[in-house]
Symmetry: C2
Subunit: 228 residues, 2 copies
């Protein structure tokens, strides 16, 4: 469902070139649960932004469901982001002047979900992350881990077939982190959703069945859980 | 050096009261290395903001170096924040249009450090967190973990006697997290700086000699490493 082929990403700052990704190639089947690990600055978020159609490679090709993303128009890309992908940002990216509930409802505004149904779906997503009682708080009235969970709920609310989560448990205690991992595992196992997460914690990575480890913008290893 | 006495913090949202801290009391000696743990939403950041003189309790008293903070003027509080405390925010709080180096220099502008010396001290702090080669990047040109480390460097640059760090390794891989913990341990051991950190990770808490665990706004346990 996701195919990355010889993808490189170079940032130019003045006359300095930062090679964030170097000739990366791999593919992900539908229904996989994959973790991406690697040192700070090794290119994980850059990769996630490309997979999530939020950024384009400097060179190389990216295919989503068989279609080459570089051949798609701005509208077609926006369409994929709206319907096929639920994205949890490393920095959360919540809108500050809206409540948690309104933030979670946002993706549905562009998706033709009826106003009457949005409230129910958004509350259900908040319940899944344990925040039903914080629905009317704004981000600045929430703890760091609560904001992170609102960002997770927002990524789930469109029933997207692919969940991309950039460090979804960085601000959560062990108990809450495990709850979130079990939630992802359930969405993957029962609903067949493809889950790709960036994580720094081996315990969280153990919920997935495959781990890609990055180093300095390139894949260091690709380990799959052996079939038992 | 820090004494929290019967401190409570209540947020009012409409007619709902959120008791973020409930009658909390404890004290911290100069030169201690303390970790604060607890579930997401249990009051840790609220506590840190009070200790860091960024917020005031709804009731109860807070003494810093023997002086009751509620008796101090706005100027005196700003003075304490500038000179006595280095604060690492859970959300980093970097200024977006300035480079990492300029962000790290900021606390020194208000401290009378000569312009000539600021550059050197800021670069030294960036080196301590492994980011000398990212000095001229702006926050949006840095990875999540790099932004977190710039926030840490900024907290160290004033040689403050107390370091308050709210989840300093949430976005860092294991290797880099250990580097940061060793840095804190060294500043504590060699320079006698008081370090209070909020962390979700037991491995990081093990670098400290005392762990306060919070639950629902109150102290659940206060464990000190036994003298060996
Ligand atoms: N401005 C506010 N208005 C209302 N409630 C608030 C406000 N700020 C925080 N809260 C609530 O106070 C409680 C404690 O928040 P705090 O940020 O201290 O938690 P925390 O322990 O730091 O959590 P985390 O580990 O998720 O960062 C939370 O339940 C939060 O919803
Ligand atoms: N806009 C940009 N301009 C220049 N360099 C950038 C830009 N964005 C990212 N970088 C650099 O690209 C590299 C990879 O960044 P990326 O955010 O993908 O890392 P990461 O693996 O997600 O790190 P972390 O674990 O710290 O979140 C970093 O060294 C960073 O400094
Ligand atoms: Mg990242
Ligand atoms: Mg917090």
């Amino acid at each position: 469902v996701v195919k990355i082929e010889n993808v490189s990403k170079i940032y130019s700052l003045g006359d300095v070139q930062v090679e964030a990704l170097k000739n990366v190639s791999f593919s992900v089947e539908e229904g996989e649960f994959l973790s991406v690990m690697g040192a700070s600055g090794s290119g994980k978020s850059t990769l996630m932004n490309i997979i999530g159609c939020l950024d384009t490679p400097t060179s190389g090709d990216y295919f989503i469901e068989g279609r080459n993303v570089s051949g798609l128009s701005g509208d077609e890309l926006a369409d994929i982001r709206k319907h096929k992908i639920g994205f949890v940002f490393q920095g959360f990216n919540l809108l500050p002047r809206m409540s948690a509930l309104e933030n979670v409802k946002l993706p549905m505004l562009y998706n033709g979900v009826k106003p009457h149904d949005r409230e129910g779906k958004a509350m259900e997503a908040l319940e899944m992350v344990g925040l039903a009682d914080r629905a009317h708080h704004q981000p600045q009235q929430l703890s760091g881990g609560q904001q992170q969970r609102v960002a997770i709920a927002r990524a789930l609310v469109n029933d997207a077939s692919m969940i991309l989560a950039d460090e979804p448990t960085g601000n959560l205690d062990s108990r809450t982190s495990l709850d979130i991992m079990e939630l992802f595992a359930e969405l993957n196992r029962k609903l067949g959703r493809t889950v790709i997460q960036v994580t720094h914690e081996p315990e969280m990575a153990s919920f997935s069945r495959r781990i890609l480890t990055f180093r300095d913008g390139a894949i260091l290893k690709d380990e799959r859980e052996s079939q038992v």
